[in-house]
């Protein structure tokens, strides 16, 4: 089932004297349950593309359709709600709320969605157990390692029951063991819950695990390949 379509998406930055064509006519479709990596060197436009897919940035031209909704047509306030209910985010720098515990961080987005406390707590516990942090639920981010924080971020991204999760270089700050561990968890969530993951990365370890690898070069799709699953 197609959940995300990019039709001739362009992004041009004109703020500086030099016009920058960061994304240049990208056409892509993503099916439910994909585990895909958008790969490319620094400055290739992968983060810009991911930001536009996540509704954090608007394309200069073209359309992005998520589950039949053209997100470019949504008003800013509707777009925020749309993001909350449809897209999970995992950031490179974890970006957890430092004053909340791991469990509260996961609960937070469900609080924004207005879900009842009991449901929030149960789902937060279930997700933290799924990412292997059942024993660190009451720890604040400062008491967790980078890998553990990123696992909390994955649990948080899934808490809102999104259509897909966007992860912008999720392993960039992690050591190889934590990277391996995180990728295993995300892969398991992908196979067990049919959760769609889209990464931007230049980490070969992530690329190796991805089922589909989309290469971006100078804002254009250079290659789009399905990899054999191990």
């Amino acid at each position: 089932m197609k959940i995300l379509t990019l039709n001739n998406v362009h992004k041009i930055y004109e703020e500086t004297e030099v016009k920058v064509h960061a994304v240049n006519g990208v056409n892509l479709d993503f099916e439910k349950g994909e585990f895909s990596a958008i790969v490319g060197p620094s400055g290739s436009g992968k983060t810009t593309l991911l930001n536009m897919i996540g509704g954090l940035d608007q394309p200069t031209e073209g359309e992005i359709i998520i589950n039949s909704t053209n997100i470019g047509e949504l008003k800013p306030s509707k777009l925020i709600d749309f993001r909350m209910y449809n897209i999970g985010f995992v950031f490179q720098a974890y970006n957890l709320i430092p004053v909340l515990t791991a469990k509260e961080n996961v609960e937070f987005i469900m609080h924004l969605q207005g879900r009842p406390k009991k449901e929030r707590e149960e789902r937060a516990e279930e997700l933290l157990k799924a990412v292997g942090l059942g024993d660190r639920m009451d720890s604040r981010p400062s008491k967790l390692s980078g890998g553990q924080q990123q696992r909390v971020a994955v649990a948080r991204a899934l808490a809102s029951k999104p259509k897909f999760v966007l992860a912008d270089e999720p392993t960039a700050n992690l050591d190889s063991k934590s990277t391996e561990n995180l990728l295993d968890i995300m892969e398991k969530l992908n196979s067990d819950e049919q959760m769609t993951f889209i990464f931007s990365t230049h980490d070969s370890r992530v690329v190796k695990k991805a089922h589909r690898v989309i290469n971006i070069e100078d804002g254009k799709v250079d290659s789009d390949e399905i990899q054999k699953r191990n």
């Binding site: 925020i80 209910y85 709320i97």
Partner: protein, 431 residues
């Protein structure tokens, strides 16, 4: 949860938050305590003015206040005093004569306002009787353990409020006037006045008592004699009355009573203490406004400090705010969170400041602040040099509202800064 996050957020940088809280605390203590001192001073002044000088309400012939001419007496004053005295809000009514006279001693002379009173009735309306330096003060001053041991001589040396049987006509004068005339208790003074038929007349009085209140101008210009004696000197009928002085049961009844009397006696001049001493009325009415004005200025100054702190908070948390907006926290919630942080930051300091100020006000409200070193200056303006700070609970409530308003206003600019962020850009910023 946003409440909880906002509260926890203010403790992320403890030292910075504590500095803001301490500034608010000190501002509150300073503002509230000084307000309480001024309010206490003003309330004391009003209470003493009502107690010793004006009573709550005075009724005159409408033309009497123009030139204080003898002929403008009230009609049927006895009946009026009876009617007014029987009203439930009224504690008592005193009928007075009031005449400008010259008073002379062997040393000098001066003009004063001579009040002809019925001492027993006047006791129920004003408390000059209590301000006369008498044997009670002597006991207090010299610390006699047994008042019975005070010798007859000493007792006789003290003044009384028309309390001693004597063949002399008695006059009670203020301490300032006594000093000016260089007279003491039992000294003789001569009073010159104009009679109803326009001739000059006079009488010799012995100083029966000397009163001491906190208004030296009043002490210097108002003397009391018995009403019938004054009527006889002026040629007015016994029982003639220029002024009805009314003491109410409760200060709060003033406005209601004024309108009741104005309706009942439309042809007479009905004046409240605020009309009689307009400067006092103005002080009490303007003081409240001024106190709030002072607090607003203090809060305004603190507000700039708070804005600065909150701007630092927002700038430090750009990435976090970007993340919150990215995952679905809408503008209203971001604004609310920053506003709540500002309110918590300000209100914590504010509540501590108010609590400490309340303790100080309570302590000094009972113990008093002794400024007797400046007594002369205070008394020249009619103020008691012993200050008892006081402030109503409504003031604390209003200050709480003002602090919250200040915090809301102070949070607007930092919050707008936060809301203007583009989540995608905010997430890219490296701090």
């Amino acid at each position: 949860m946003i409440f909880s996050i906002a509260w926890k957020n203010i403790w992320r940088n403890r030292m910075r938050s504590l500095i803001v809280m301490i500034a608010v605390t000190i501002g509150m203590i300073g503002g509230i305590f000084s307000s309480a001192v001024f309010k206490g001073m003003s309330d004391q002044r009003v209470k003493e003015a009502i107690k010793y000088e004006t009573s709550h309400i005075q009724i005159h012939h409408p033309k009497f206040m123009e030139n204080q001419e003898l002929k403008y007496t009230l009609e049927n004053p006895e009946r009026m005093a009876g009617e007014i005295g029987s009203m439930p809000q009224v504690q008592s009514v005193s009928r007075r004569m009031e005449i400008p006279v010259m008073i002379k001693s062997t040393a000098t002379g001066t003009g004063v306002q001579l009040m002809g009173i019925d001492p027993d009735k006047e006791r129920e309306v004003t408390a000059i009787y209590d301000a006369v330096y008498d044997s009670t003060d002597l006991i207090e001053q010299y610390g006699f353990e047994d008042p019975q041991r005070i010798s007859g001589f000493l007792k006789d040396s003290c003044g009384t409020y028309f309390g001693r049987k004597t063949r002399w006509q008695q006059i009670v004068i203020g301490e300032e006037l006594a000093k000016q005339l260089k007279v003491d208790v039992k000294s003789k003074v001569v009073v010159n006045l104009q009679t109803t038929d326009g001739n000059l007349s006079g009488g010799v009085f012995r100083v029966a008592g000397i009163y001491r209140i906190t208004n030296s101008a009043f002490e210097n210009t108002v003397a009391f004699v018995e009403k019938d004696v004054l009527a006889e000197l002026t040629g007015l009928r016994t029982g003639s009355t220029h002024e009805l002085a009314i003491r109410l049961e409760d200060d709060g009844e003033l406005n209601a009573m004024m309108s009741q009397l104005e309706t009942k006696y439309p042809d007479l001049s009905i004046m409240s203490w605020k009309d009689i001493q307009p400067e006092l009325g103005m002080i009490t009415e303007w003081l409240d406004v001024m106190l709030y004005f002072v607090m607003v200025i203090i809060l305004l100054a603190l507000g700039f400090g708070i804005v600065n702190t909150m701007l630092m908070v927002v700038m430090e948390r750009v990435k976090e705010l970007g993340m919150l907006m990215a995952i679905g926290m809408n503008r209203m919630r971001v604004f609310t969170m920053i506003m709540l942080e500002t309110i918590f930051l300000s209100l914590t300091g504010g509540v501590i400041g108010m609590a400490l100020a309340a303790l100080l006000v309570n302590y000094f409200g009972n113990a008093g602040i002794n400024l007797k070193a400046f007594a002369q200056g205070f008394e020249a303006m009619g103020y008691n040099p012993m200050l008892y700070p006081q402030i109503g609970t409504a003031f604390y409530f209003s200050i709480t509202v003002l602090i919250i308003l200040t915090a809301i206003v102070a949070s607007v600019y930092p919050a707008i800064k936060a809301l203007r962020m583009n989540p995608a850009e905010a997430l890219r910023i490296e701090i």
